[in-house]
């Protein structure tokens, strides 16, 4: 009951933020930049005819709030379209979604598991060679931008050693094995950064947790070291990881796929956004930015509720 009320409150505030996000996104694309917004929206290869259409669709001669209303209406009824490709933005997004979700979910599972394992090993072996090796790996992972790592992996493993098929995406419904084969490199590429981050975060939270009074009490109770580690150290250390995971997943789905999908030619939503950026095709970028931010906001709300479930201290102080 506590949780339900908390969840409702959190959802209500998320809706307010969503509204603010839509306004800010609108301002970013229509009010902040210089020059004629119709020109920008029409894309690099616009004709006078297209520009006139755009001007009519969005009402750029009207006040800002009317323009905002028009943009939102086009987005909400799904009619917003790319003037470069003459297709609706949502049809393209729908087409790319399976690939993007496959990429993001798979990578998120990999980085969560590997990150936790490496982080715990790093903490248990703190200061030893294993720990140093994990830290080194983490630093390289954090410092290697995914498009650099992806390109190098693609070059080495696909073109030189021919272990993995060249880029592209096979739907899981069509052939699960090919689906996985095509996704292994993108998954790893995307996961490496977060594995590094999670390993470092967990290593330090576990090390902190191991020296807390509560863990000293757990030892003094006569519990086995394994039980102390799992029930008293890990259970507490994983709480921040759970929230981090939700937020990072949202951020990856909304952002990092742009780069990785382009490198591996996965033809997902991210690549659609990246291609649109290259041709300065604004409507898809606008919609995807809005969707990405909305997803982060909703995920934030979900994570807060999850946090309350995992940590009784939050539950009672917020309700």
């Amino acid at each position: 009951m506590d949780i339900a009320i908390f969840a409702l409150k959190r959802l209500a505030s998320a809706i307010v933020v969503l509204f603010a996000v839509s306004v800010l996104t609108f301002l970013i694309f229509f009010a902040i930049p210089n020059g004629d917004p119709a020109l920008r929206l029409a894309g690099r290869t616009a004709t006078a005819q297209t520009i006139a259409t755009v001007r009519h669709d969005y009402g750029f001669d009207r006040p800002l709030w009317v323009q905002y209303g028009k943009v939102m209406k086009q987005i909400l009824d799904g009619s917003i379209q790319s003037y470069t490709q003459h297709v609706t933005v949502f049809s393209q997004i729908k087409r790319g979604l399976p690939a993007t979700l496959s990429l993001a979910i798979g990578a998120a599972i990999i980085w969560l598991i590997v990150g936790i394992v490496l982080g715990v090993i790093g903490a248990l072996r703190a200061g030893k060679a294993t720990d140093v090796a994990i830290s080194t790996f983490s630093f390289v992972g954090i410092s290697a931008p995914s498009f650099v790592l992806g390109s190098i992996l693609l070059y080495l493993l696909t073109y030189k050693l021919r272990i993995f098929p060249p880029g592209g995406y096979t739907p899981i419904t069509q052939n699960p094995i090919q689906w996985a084969e095509h996704l292994v490199l993108p998954w790893v590429t995307l996961a490496v950064l977060y594995i590094g981050v999670y390993a470092q975060v967990l290593r330090s939270t576990v090390l902190d947790a191991m020296t807390t009074d509560a863990v000293r009490t757990a030892h003094a109770k006569g519990l086995s070291p394994t039980r102390v580690m799992i029930k008293h150290v890990l259970r507490v250390s994983l709480i921040p990881i759970a929230s981090l995971w939700g937020l990072d997943f949202a951020a990856v789905l909304g952002g990092s796929t742009l780069v990785v999908e382009s490198v591996f030619n996965l033809n997902g939503v991210g690549q659609y956004a990246a291609d649109s950026v290259r041709s300065l095709d604004v409507p898809p970028v606008l919609v995807i930015t809005l969707l990405g931010a909305c997803f982060v906001v909703l995920m934030n709300a979900i994570v807060d509720v999850l946090y309350a479930v995992l940590d009784p201290r939050i539950r009672t102080t917020t309700s």
């Binding site: 006569g222 201290r313 009672t316």
Partner: protein, 359 residues
Amino acid sequence: MSDIEVFQRAPITDEVLRVEHLKVSFRTERGVVQAVDDVSFRVGRGEVLAIVGESGSGKSVSAMTLMGLTRSPNATISGSARLADGTELVTASDRDLQRVRGSRVAMIFQDPMSALTPVYRVGDQIAEQIRAHEKVSKAAARARAVELLERVGIPRAAERSRAYPHQFSGGMRQRVMIAMALSCSPEILIADEPTTALDVTIQSQILAEIEDLRQETGVAVLLITHDLGVVAEVASRVVVMYAGRVVEECEVHEIFKDPLHPYTWGLLGSVPRIDKVRPDRLPTIQGSPPSLLRPPSGCHFKTRCPHRFAECDREPELRALEPNSVHRDRCHLSLQDKRALRIVDGAIGLPIPVEKELS
């Protein structure tokens, strides 16, 4: 001196813990810290032994070493600590020690606010300890946890056992800790500054609770504290520690009536008294405790002692000054000198340090 000689004058016959020549040192970046330096004491059945000292005197390290909580790759521990049946705690394997912890030797800590794991219900945390040592069902362990909570004076225990630690006040949490410590009927309860983090009014309640349970269950209590008020309230015997060593050991009334070590005088003098006219300034022990990395040779207290003389460069022994006395101290001064020197302005204490003497 042999072990037998050390203890022959003691009246205790039925002891639950005997600590002999306990030494604990830690290797640090800056050198070896000798935190506990040859400490010996015993705890009799059902008695309350107080270990008194400043922070850094080694009293907490001694207590935690008994529980094996100071074991780490950079710690060196030697000496002996035996339970009544001869179980040796210093050299025990981790597994054996694990069996002793919580069941035969239990411990409560200074800060009850952080001593419990925040994400579990308090009843479950007590039950967890019971189930670690006894083969009982979860339900039975929980039922016992409720009983224990009731016994330490927690109202509506059945309901409260399902609450989380943050829903308890500091005093109530310390009661939970006591309930947990007593859950497996231990022989010794080590209480490490159990009241320091609590309000004054709550302090005496907790002390009364410990005292009640001691009388009820016959558990021996090893009380670690820096507070002589606490000592006067519950202890039967006192061990005073300074810079890793025992400097005085006696029955509780003697520490107030006839303290023998200058450091003890300092401790007593630093306590404000309501039965005497307050001096302009409370006397303090001048200077700060010595570095345990490089302690002074001879008597460790000599750098702060106003009564030091040439002899103090030689290490004093812990000895009784009167035959057949259990009152022992570690100081070269004669009994007569001690009794004459310790009275300052009609009360026991060290002279108020003169500013220029502070280095």
